[in-house]
């Protein structure tokens, strides 16, 4: 109960912080919309080709955009955490009896919300352009991507506390961004690539989430790919939350 109450209090504080910086809300929404407006047209000629069902470019592309949004919404956490190390906020919170897990979850919940709200908007915008929504699958898809956001958020927070420097965090996160996103096939399906590239993709946890997301968007729910996607993403999220909680417990020792 205490954990729930403290998580609610801390995520409310985080949400207020986000709402007071509307530029982030705006950017969080404009980037995926620009992808839809500018990148999707590039793909239309691929419709019916390898990796794309006939007439369904957006069916493949929208799940990828949602995965990118989840990655972006979560990975910002580390920057905020470093700011809070520098201003002593984390130190102050660590001297209160607040649960260290709640300190992590407060940020995770905010990031999940700042992923989910624009995600729903992006889906709605994509509908008139030919994205075919299968509602059951779509619901699960958002849940899966919320888990991915949680994994990124907790992972980024743990990295932030561990590295303590904005510069190091930026280097690590941008270094991870390309292999993680490209090798999960967010923009173009990995099935387009040669065998060795697909093999590399299997070493990337995000690959399983994106594969599952594409099947969910296509309306197939009870497949092994979907189960694997949920399994891997949930495991990574739990691991990241454990790591971040441990980092909060020992911050600045």
């Amino acid at each position: 109960m205490t954990l729930l109450l403290q998580t609610a209090l801390l995520s409310r504080r985080r949400l207020l912080e986000t709402l007071r910086q509307p530029i982030w809300v705006f950017m969080g929404l404009s980037v995926p919309l620009l992808y839809l407006a500018l990148f999707a047209p590039l793909l239309t000629s691929l419709a019916g080709g390898p990796g794309f069902p006939a007439g369904g470019v957006l069916d493949v592309f929208v799940p990828g955009i949602l995965a990118l949004m989840a990655f972006g919404a979560g990975m910002g956490a580390g920057w905020i955490v470093i700011g809070e190390l520098d201003t002593g906020v984390i130190e102050r919170l660590r001297v209160t009896p607040a649960s260290r897990l709640a300190l992590v979850l407060g940020t995770v919940v905010r990031d999940v919300i700042t992923f989910a709200v624009p995600a729903v908007i992006v889906v709605c915008v994509a509908l008139p352009f030919g994205f075919r929504a299968r509602w059951g699958g779509l619901g699960l898809l958002v849940v899966l991507m919320a888990l991915l956001t949680a994994a990124c958020s907790a992972g980024s927070a743990a990295l932030g506390i561990t590295l303590q420097q904005i510069g190091s965090l930026a280097a690590v996160v941008t270094g991870l961004q390309l292999p993680l996103t490209l090798l999960s096939g967010v923009l173009l399906p990995l099935s387009l690539g040669p065998g060795w590239l697909q093999g590399l993709g299997h070493a990337n946890p995000m690959y399983y989430a994106v594969e599952a997301a594409r099947q969910l968007a296509a309306g197939t729910v009870t497949t092994e790919t979907v189960a694997l996607g949920f399994g891997v993403t949930l495991a990574v999220a739990l691991l990241a939350i454990w790591w971040a909680t441990r980092a909060y417990r020992r911050a600045m020792e």
């Binding site: 205490t2 109450l5 403290q6 209090l9 801390l10 504080r13 207020l16 912080e17 007071r20 910086q21 520098d86 201003t87 002593g88 906020v89 984390i90 130190e91 102050r92 919170l93 660590r94 001297v95 209160t96 009896p97 607040a98 600045m252 020792e253």
Partner: protein, 332 residues
Amino acid sequence: MSGPGDGGAVRVTGLRKAFASKRGRVEALRGVDLSIDAGQIHGFLGPNGAGKTTTLRILTTLLRADSGEAIVAGIDVRRHPGAVRRRIGYVGQLGGADREATGRENLLLQGRLYGMSSADTERRAGELIELLELGAFSQRIVRSYSGGQRRRLEVALGIVHRPEVLFLDEPTLGLDPQNRANLWEQLRGLRDAGTTILLTTHYLDEADQLSDRLAIIDHGRVVAEGTPLELKQRYPAEVIVTPKLGAAELGPLATDLGRDPMVGAVQTDGEALRIQVPDPTAGLAAVIDRLRASGVGVLRVSLQEPSLDDVFLHETGRSLRDAGDPATAEAA
């Protein structure tokens, strides 16, 4: 709850802590012993890198000691950090107020995190806004506060839950004289209302005027402990005389003065003589009598009471102003 002399608020024995650094192992604490009674302001004076912050961080559960025992508000810090957290308040050097929230929001969240009810927290926030005079800006975003305003809010955050012991790390660092004086008054008020306060400082005047008792720490050890007056009285005052004499003639005068039973060691210091007098009043009178008897004219006479810097100098062989090694500064 606790009588005098029993270390009711904080009892520390043999606290040791070492950090790994690029230059190898740095021993931040080499066996700190400390006993603080409830209901007083206890100062912790020392140069940067002396171990003040490390000690405070161990007492506030932020850091684990390598060895030694620390009891805060009757509870073992290592064994029951959670129980200690509920009984203490802490205002770190960095402050820790949430910059993107209002002062009031900061107070309300802090109270709830300590498990206070929403109504109780509201009431307490109102009290603190009045007590620390935050009213004019409590509804503004903290980022817009001046240094003094933010410091007051941070002290308020440290005492939302009415802690038994309040820890403050360099509370007046960077404050202008007026804000410092205000904060001192407010801390005295808290003490009078029953809160035990442990604060670190490297300001001599702050240690001297604000502390009921004082521990001087250097190189990870407590080198002296007592009330500021007790500590200073361990060392003689000095009469400083500048006679109308050339430097060559100072020697014989110094020898003459040194024969007086009320006078301790006599040293020349440029054109002046520094004459130690264990009893300041009698010593000053004796020096003036001797000067008058010898017929030497005098340009200037002053009496210098021992300061905490003298205490520090005697205990450590260095002046506090020169001490402090930036390489071992307390980043930890």
